[in-house]
């Protein structure tokens, strides 16, 4: 009973929603709208529970005077003040919640946290963007092509010269590390580049970096994304099916059977 009723609810709702997708009848549309509202309402109660957990956590921190307890006052006061202002004066444009709190507290905090990403991108690139393997090297070259192709500086750089520079880097790295694999790869690239040069009549091929970047984004990148999405969809659907059928039931949690 403690397990079977929840499993039955889950199964019923799962099957009902799947059937709903195929039925255009107004009753089916009404069912969808109704249950969507219900899920939102139920979610609101969970928010109370979550907020309760947050408040209890900070009150506990305050009472036991744990390290940094005074910051808990900031969180509690801010939460209380914002919800009072929001509930009291409404959430429409022009209300103090939107015009003061949203525009001058939430927007800058959000934007700053988002902007920090730019710094982290730089440090991650420096720390972890290493051509350790040939796959990692490919990732790097693709990233360079797109990064250069997307800014004005790269607008008039032929892809050919870019690859020549990559090739030189490969050769140097091959000699420095005395890696046969690297040297063979660099040699193959030399042959390839010479062949390309010959093919275009010993003139630098007119392919520029912005076009190369667009190609990378629309050909190999698209293919990879599509493949990942096939996998994600199949894995996701199988997981969802197992939940609906009650095969995957970890969410039922502890307690007696």
């Amino acid at each position: 009973m403690r397990r079977n009723i929840p499993l039955a609810i889950c199964l019923t709702m799962g099957v009902a929603m799947m059937v709903q997708f195929f039925v255009p009848h107004p009753a089916s549309v009404a069912f969808y709208d109704l249950t969507t509202k219900w899920v939102r309402i139920v979610g609101a109660f969970a928010l109370v529970l979550g907020t309760g957990s947050l408040v209890m956590y900070h009150i506990d921190k305050l009472q036991r005077r744990r390290t940094g307890w005074y910051y808990s006052i900031v969180t509690l006061t801010a939460a209380a003040a914002t919800s009072v202002i929001g509930l009291g004066w409404g959430v429409k444009p022009g209300s103090p919640l939107q015009d003061i709190i949203f525009s001058n507290l939430l927007v800058p905090l959000n934007a700053s946290m988002f902007a920090i990403l730019a710094f982290y991108m730089a440090s991650a690139a420096y720390r972890a963007f290493r051509a350790r393997t040939k796959e990692a090297a490919l990732l790097l070259v693709a990233a360079f092509v797109v990064m250069l192709g997307m800014v004005p500086i790269g607008a008039n750089v032929p892809f050919f010269w870019f690859m020549v520079v990559v090739n030189v880097a490969l050769l140097v790295a091959g000699f420095v590390t005395r890696s046969k694999a690297l040297l063979i790869g660099a040699g193959a690239l030399v042959v390839g580049l010479l062949a390309w040069l010959g093919f275009s009549g010993f003139k630098v091929p007119p392919l520029m970096l912005p076009d190369t970047a667009e190609w990378v984004l629309s050909v190999p990148n698209m293919a990879a994304k599509r493949a990942i999405q096939f996998g994600i969809a199949l894995g996701g659907i199988a997981t969802a099916l197992k939940v609906i059928l009650g095969i995957e039931r970890g969410w039922l949690g502890g307690g007696k059977q």
């Binding site: 529970l49 947050l54 988002f114 990403l117 990942i228 199988a238 997981t239 969410w251």
Partner: protein, 386 residues
């Protein structure tokens, strides 16, 4: 519509006289083949009308006229001359209407024959989604079949997934160092399947944590996920035989605002200096904020997501990354439960079928270049989704 109609009707009065040097003006002809039918695959209250231009001059507009059983007739729309289709959404179900179309130019209007009477109704099955139903039936059959096979105790192979082999080591490391493990079950809701996959992995990780007696911290962004995660961890401690070791405040809710959550987890990592971080589930732009801060505090990091745009950042900044479907395979991989392994096999056959269909389909489509085989072009339309 009305101003446009008036404009159209008055246009004739100010039309310039026809230049006698111009070629003789073709007369307007009535549209032909007027067909009215119940709009398919809808919730009713809609009739579609189709027609073809007659063999005369091009009109300036089409007028659509509807007659209901009470014999009241009205012009309901004026349509651009390039369009020969009208969707009438102002009808009642189960009432028979007839339609007439007129070609209009200047003050001239030439009416067609009326259509057959037609009534609209709501459909019970959307035939345009038949393709999805077929795909669902095939895939469900595969998954269920292999789960049943697995129940009979047939041994199933799973290839190595490096990120998951590292879980044991990562948990052990935390115990040795006496530092906690942070597990972020993503920023998605329970309706995101990645979150469910992550919660299942959390169950397995929590079991190991209980065995090794490390500390676990699970910050949450979604309140419902928070309640489920809490139950999962509690259950895992019980299963590992250490229900007393479960600390109620180890699973906690922070806020549902994306970047506020990221800021708080950043702070948590900077202060707790965890030995290991798990970022599994749904992530958006905050992925690198979390992963880079974690790397700076010196933690081993295992990440996994099905969000294609965030994978590059996890791959760069974390030690191990589960790519897309590997995340879903993880709970089967860690638990080695045959029921879950069976579905992995079903998924693989699903992939084979997809690849087979796109390969054979492509071959046939390319053959459709031969005129006699041009009907193969129909294949693409079967995969249209609406």
């Amino acid at each position: 519509m009305i101003p446009f109609l008036i404009l159209l009707l008055t246009a004739g009065q100010v039309a310039p006289p026809v230049d006698s040097a111009a070629p003789p003006v073709q007369r307007l002809a009535a549209p032909v083949g007027v067909k009215a039918f119940d709009t398919p695959n809808d919730k009713g209250k809609s009739i579609t009308v189709h027609w073809q231009p007659g063999p005369g001059a091009a009109p300036e507009a089409w007028l659509v006229e509807r007659t209901d059983p009470a014999e009241s007739t009205e012009v309901i729309a004026a349509i651009e001359p390039t369009d020969t289709r009208y969707l009438d959404e102002g009808v009642m179900d189960r009432v028979k209407y007839t339609y007439r179309i007129a070609a209009a130019a200047g003050a001239d209007t030439v009416w067609s024959e009326p259509s057959q009477p037609v009534a609209s109704s709501a459909q019970l099955f959307n035939t345009a989604r038949l393709n999805i139903l077929i795909a669902m039936v095939i895939f469900f059959a595969l998954v269920i079949y292999y789960i049943e096979t697995a129940k009979k105790g047939k041994n199933l192979f799973v290839r190595r997934i490096a990120g998951l082999d590292a879980v044991e080591e990562a948990v052990g490391r935390a115990t040795e160092m006496g530092r906690p493990i942070i597990y972020v079950p993503g920023l998605g809701s329970v309706a995101d399947i990645a979150t469910i996959a992550s919660l299942n992995i959390l169950g397995e990780v929590a079991k190991k944590v209980a065995q090794y007696d490390s500390a676990l911290l699970v910050p949450n962004r979604d309140p419902i996920v928070y309640t489920v995660a809490r139950e999962m961890v509690k259950e895992s401690y019980a299963k590992a035989g250490r229900p007393d070791a479960f600390k109620a405040d180890s699973v906690f809710f922070i806020t549902s605002e994306q970047f506020a959550f990221a800021a708080a987890v950043d702070g948590l990592m900077a202060r707790e200096k965890p030995a290991t971080n798990f970022f599994l589930g749904m992530f958006w732009a905050e992925s690198l904020i979390l992963a880079e801060t974690g790397a700076q505090t010196g933690a081993i990091q295992i990440a996994g997501t099905d969000s294609v745009f965030q994978l590059p950042f996890f791959i760069t900044a974390c030690d191990y990354t589960l790519i897309g479907e590997e995340l879903y395979a993880a709970s089967a991989y860690l638990s080695r439960e045959p029921l879950l392994l069976g579905s992995l096999k079903g998924q693989d056959y699903g992939k084979i079928i997809i690849l087979a269909i796109v390969t054979v389909g492509s071959a046939l489509l390319l053959l459709s270049k031969i005129p006699a085989l041009s009907f193969f072009t129909q294949i693409v339309s079967f995969f249209s989704v609406r």
